[in-house]
């Protein structure tokens, strides 16, 4: 019946800690390799092949790291909210771990977006920072990430910590449309989006390095997320046989012990 569907069987197995640990261990080197190739190509193209912007000049080259970081900062938070919802409704432990493991990566991309935006703002606007709606809402996103990490580490029991953090993350989702539409809702110094579903106002010679770096950032997130999730699984299951079998094979007993 439905349980024999290979896709369902695959996802069911993926929920098992030892199985996830084994599969992710094989995936991680590939994700890092793809990230390195794409990031090298996108950075070279953005720095040396793409033309300077007709208005902003050479400083527009900062866009090739700023924009992918800003996109990822929002995408990771949205994924955290989805995983938090799954964790709250279906109590899937792997979703809890994936959610909290995403937080430091999301915070890192938010820091990069804020720092590179600031470094772009100095030559373009004449200032490193303004309390503009886009910049302020992105800073609030950083505080949400830090708040989620702080709340999770403040509660000793991992599953209670994950539930509390999931709630906080879900409440914070309100900030995502605020960030996205801030440039339309308010009169901001930050420019409106150049790329959208209705088309884009950016030349292909500048669009391609941007899209390559944005894709590279997603592979970075995937590799880093799996690495962090494996670490948390190992820490939480440190007394279970599957972890002991991996670390000290001759001391372990059976290979079961994964839960969902």
């Amino acid at each position: 019946m439905s349980s024999k569907n290979p896709l369902i069987v695959f996802f069911h197995k993926l929920g098992s800690a030892p199985h996830f640990y084994r599969i992710s261990g094989k995936l991680i080197p590939w994700l890092w390799a793809i990230f390195v190739v794409l990031a090298a190509a996108g950075t070279y193209w953005g720095l040396f092949r793409a033309p300077p912007d007709y208005l902003q000049g050479e400083s527009a080259r900062i866009m090739y790291v700023h924009v992918p970081a800003a996109w990822l900062s929002m995408m990771i938070y949205a994924l955290m909210a989805i995983m938090g919802f799954i964790a709250l409704v279906w109590r899937i432990r792997l979703a809890e771990i994936l959610m909290i493991s995403s937080a430091p990566i999301g915070a890192a991309f938010t820091i990069i977006a804020l720092a590179t935006g600031s470094l772009w703002g100095r030559p373009t606007w004449g200032t490193y920072w303004v309390w503009d709606a886009r910049l302020t809402s992105e800073l609030v996103l950083l505080f949400l990430y830090l708040g989620a990490m702080g709340l999770h580490s403040a509660i000793d029991e991992p599953r209670k910590a994950a539930r509390a953090t999931s709630l906080l993350v879900l409440v914070g989702v309100i900030n995502l449309p605020i960030i996205h539409y801030s440039v339309e809702w308010w009169n901001t110094l930050h420019q409106p989006a150049s790329i959208g579903v209705k088309g884009n106002s950016i030349d292909p010679s500048m669009l391609w390095p941007l899209l390559i770096n944005a894709t590279a950032a997603k592979f970075y997130y995937g590799a880093n997320l799996l690495t962090r999730t494996r670490l948390r699984l190992m820490e939480q299951d440190s007394r279970k046989n599957w972890v002991r079998n991996i670390l000290v094979p001759n001391k372990g007993q059976s290979t079961d012990g994964g839960d969902h």
Partner: protein, 50 residues
């Protein structure tokens, strides 16, 4: 050199540093955790699965 090259270099350096730190931190911690667990298992050798 580019015009505003200082800002461009700073932006790419910040990005590289933050991404490198964020990628290395869990690897270093995993190394520590692995050796801690392995030490406990080797010392006790007990199967106390929970």
């Amino acid at each position: 050199m580019f015009e505003h090259s200082v800002y461009i270099a700073a932006a790419y350096s910040v990005t590289t540093l933050v991404l490198a730190w964020c990628a290395l931190a869990p690897v270093l911690r995993a190394k520590k955790v692995r050796s801690q667990i392995a030490r406990v298992v080797t010392r006790t050798g007990v199967d106390n699965k929970q």
